[in-house]
Symmetry: C2
Subunit: 363 residues, 2 copies
Amino acid sequence: MKNDWRTVTFFCSNGKVIYLPMVSAGRMNKKVPAPTVSLIAVAKEAGVSRATASLVLRNSPLVAEPTRARVKAAMETLGYIYNRGAANLRQNRTGTIGLVLSNISNPFFSTLTAGVEEANDASEAICLIANTADSPERQSRQIRRLREHNVDGLIICPAIGSDQKLIDELTRLGLPYVQVLREIPYASGDVVTADYALGIERAMAHLVETGRKRIVFIGAMEMHSAALARLDGYRSAIRHFGLEELPVIAGTRDHRYDEEALDRLFDLPEPPDAAICYNDLIALTLFHHLGRRGMIVGTDFAVIGMDNLPQAAAAYPPLTTIATLPQRIGAVAATLLQKRLMQPERPGERFVITPELVLRNSS
Amino acid sequence: MKNDWRTVTFFCSNGKVIYLPMVSAGRMNKKVPAPTVSLIAVAKEAGVSRATASLVLRNSPLVAEPTRARVKAAMETLGYIYNRGAANLRQNRTGTIGLVLSNISNPFFSTLTAGVEEANDASEAICLIANTADSPERQSRQIRRLREHNVDGLIICPAIGSDQKLIDELTRLGLPYVQVLREIPYASGDVVTADYALGIERAMAHLVETGRKRIVFIGAMEMHSAALARLDGYRSAIRHFGLEELPVIAGTRDHRYDEEALDRLFDLPEPPDAAICYNDLIALTLFHHLGRRGMIVGTDFAVIGMDNLPQAAAAYPPLTTIATLPQRIGAVAATLLQKRLMQPERPGERFVITPELVLRNSS
DNA sequence: GGAAGCAATTAGATCGATCTAAATTCGCCT
DNA sequence: AGGCGAATTTAGATCGATCTAATTGCTTCC
C-alpha cells in the first residue's frame, strides 16, 4: 500500500527505471504452500545445531556417521532444498560463470556454448549468457550486469571494436576471464583460440596440390584478431606458393558477401578457380551464387569453408571445410577458467586449437 | 590447513562429491585489491544510514533530492557495485530465469535463445542455461540445480519422454514455468508453441497446387507433441486432398533420416515427387541425396523444409520452407514468464505462433 | 586424579542487502 | 509557543547459509 514501488536503477548497471508494484512482488514470493525449509528446520528436526547440519551438507569428515545419517534423513523428510544464494553471500563465490558472446544464434557460438556446458557439467558450474551483438557499449553493460550477479568469472569473445579498456574494466571489477577466439592485443590472462592462419594455409596447400591457381578469399569481416589471422594465413600461403593475390571480397554480418565485387573478378581474363571462405555459411551462399552462374562446384570451381558445421556435410556437394572445433574450444575455455579460479595468480595460458582440414567433394 | 575440504554433495542436486582445497578457495575470494565496498561504506561516505543508501539504490521517492545526490556521489567515488546476491537473499527473487532446452547447439534452439535474450533485455532478467540432451533424468537434475540457484522461473522445452512427473516436480519446487514448443498433455500453465500442423497443411496445399501428387513425409522424430503435430498436419492434408499416404520416413537425432527406406520408395512404380521434411537440416540433407540420384531439386522433385534457418535461403537451390519463427517464440515465452511472475495466480495462457510458408525455388 | 589429546558439536558473528516500525525534522497554523 | 501532519531518516531484525573459536565428552597416559 505504502511502499508500492520497486526499482532497478542507474547503479544497477543500466539507466532504466522499472517500477514493480509491491503487491505483486509479495505474491510472487510465496512460491510454495509450505514455508521455505531452511537449515534451521533441518537441524531442529534432526536434533542438532545449524552448524552441524551445514557440515553434513558439505560432506565434512568432522561429523559422526550416525549424526550424518540423522541429518540426511531429516533433509529427506522435510524436502530440504539447498539455498546457494545464501551460501554464496558468505563464501563470495557462486558457481556461475558468464558467457559473453556476440550472438548466440550464430551456430558457431552456439556449438561453443555446448562445449562450455559440457565442461561445466563436470565442474558443477552453470552459465549465465549475455549477448553483446558486437557492440562494445552493450558488452560493457552486460559485463557490469554479470558482475552484479556475482559470476565467478567470464568466458568472453571480445566484441568487435573492443580494446584495452575492456581488459581494464575486467581487472577493475576483479573478474577473472578467459578470452576465446578473438583477443585483445597484449592482454595478459588466458586465451583459447584456433590457429586460423595454419588452417587456411593447409587448405591453400590442398588447393594448390589439386591444381588450383587463382584462389580468392571471400568474406573478410571487420578487423578482429580472428579475422585478421585468416587473412594472414591466406596471404602468407599466396606468397609461399608464388601465386597472384586476388582482391579480397568483403563479407557482411549476415553471412553474405560483396557479390558484385566477386562478379567483377569472374569477368577478368583470368577468373578465379577456387575460393577460401571466411566460414561455412558464406561458402554455402557461394554455392548458390556459383549455381546461378552455371558453374559446378568441385569441378569448375573449388570451394573451401571454415568451421565444419553439421550442414557442411549435408550440403550438396558436401563442403570441404576447415574444422575449427568450437565445441572443443568451449570445453577447453571452461576448464581453463576453472583452473584460473583455483589459482588466480598463475600466469596466463594460451591454448591454441589446431583446425583440421575435412576433405569433401567441393574441392 | 584444518578444514582443507569443501564439497558439493548429494543434497546439492547430484551425487558427485568434489573436494576443493580451502586454500585455493580462500585465494579465489580476494577478487580485487580493495576490500569490497558495500552499502555500509557508501552510507558512511555520504554521512547517511545504510537504510537511506538502500532507498537511493532503489530510486525511492522517499529520499530528499540533496541526500540522493550525496549518496550517488559517494557511490561514484567509491566505485560501488550492487550486490544482487545479498538483495536476492532478502527479496527471494533473483532476476534470473532458467532456460531448459534439449540442445543449445541446435540452431533452432539457439535462435530461440536469442529471442529470450531479446525480451529479457527489456525486463532486466538474465538467463541460466541448461542442456537436457533430451534425457528426462538429466532434465530433472538440471531443474534441481537451477532451483538451488533460485531462478525465478523456467522456460522449458520438455525433454523427449517427459511426463506428468515433470510438471509435478516443478510444482513441488514452486517454480513457475512456461513450456515452449513441446508440451506435457493436460499440464496447466503457460505454453508457447507453433501450430505445426497448420504450417504443414499450408505447405501441402502449395505442393498440390503446383501439381505434386505423391508427397512423402521425411524425418519423423521421437514422439513429442511438436513432432506429432507435424505428422498430424501431413496426414490430415493427405486425407483432405484425397492423396495416397506414403510410408513415413523415420528421422534420426543428427538431422539425417532412414535413407534406405526412402530409396525403397523411389523404386516403386509410382515414386514420390515431393517431400515435406521435419526440419531444414533434413531437407538440406535430402538435397544431397537427390543430387546423388541425379534428380534436380525444384523440377524433378519438390522439397519443403521447416524452420527457415538462414542457410535455407543460402542453399542451392534456395529452400522453400515453413518458418517457425523461433526468435519470436523465445521472445513471447520470456515475456509470458515475466507476466506470470507478476501474477502467479492468473490462469495459464496458450500462445500459438502461426508458421509462415516461405516460397523459394526448391518447390 | 589431573593433564593432554582427540573427536564431535555448537554458539554467535558474519556476508550485504531489504523491510518494518519508529524516530526525527520540518513547515505551517493557531 | 505548541501542535499536527507530512516528509525524511534510521535502528535493528531478517534472509539462510558459512566460518571462527570455542565447548563438550571421552580416552589415554603419567
